[in-house]
Symmetry: C2
Subunit: 112 residues, 2 copies
């Protein structure tokens, strides 16, 4: 992906899509943690919550990598995880959207 | 404290007091975590909760040390922290209660 160049307009679209996905995943995670916290009955539940948060923090740090050299892979992952839709990448150049679509098809096992 | 011997009856009293203190601190901590979880508004709040739980787990592991060689110190700490009262150690031999009372007085700066 290092061969791709990003126009200012594309960077704005990419940044908005990235932030949108992060906001959605964050909202879902916060809701999940509230539910878990509400159900806590004993100390072991607290330590399980700590482990859950620890794992989620590492997962989000891995997932939300805003480097243009890897950004299309990040978008593929976010679309697969349900935090972003391909439509939200409208405005990116055709070659970028085609690569994302091809990667998604590969991931689904459609071949290419 | 290694010079002290504990009768079976004293061990029962000590164990009950220890468990009671732990149950109180656990209940307070669970209530605090629920309140914190309810107030979470953004990802950073989640990671602060993770740090809080991490610190509390270590603090509780340190505090609740059920070895008879250190148990009177543990009780002093629990009384100072408000999770136990001296009255709940009724039934322990006079020398043990006197040591706890003396340590508490020292900690309050009453001298001894």
């Amino acid at each position: 992906m290092r061969d791709l160049s990003w126009s200012k307009h594309e960077k704005q679209i990419a940044h908005t899509a990235f932030k949108q996905a992060l906001a959605r995943e964050a909202a879902a995670l916060i809701a999940e943690v509230r539910t878990k916290a509400h159900a806590i009955a004993e100390l072991d539940d607290l330590w399980r919550l700590e482990q859950f948060l620890h794992a989620k923090r590492h997962a989000l740090e891995q997932r939300y990598d805003y480097r243009y050299s890897v950004l299309l892979y990040v978008f593929v992952d976010l679309i697969q995880a349900g935090w972003l839709s391909l439509d939200e990448l409208a405005g990116l150049a055709d070659d970028k959207r085609a690569r994302v679509a091809a990667l998604l098809a590969c991931a689904r096992g459609d071949g290419e």
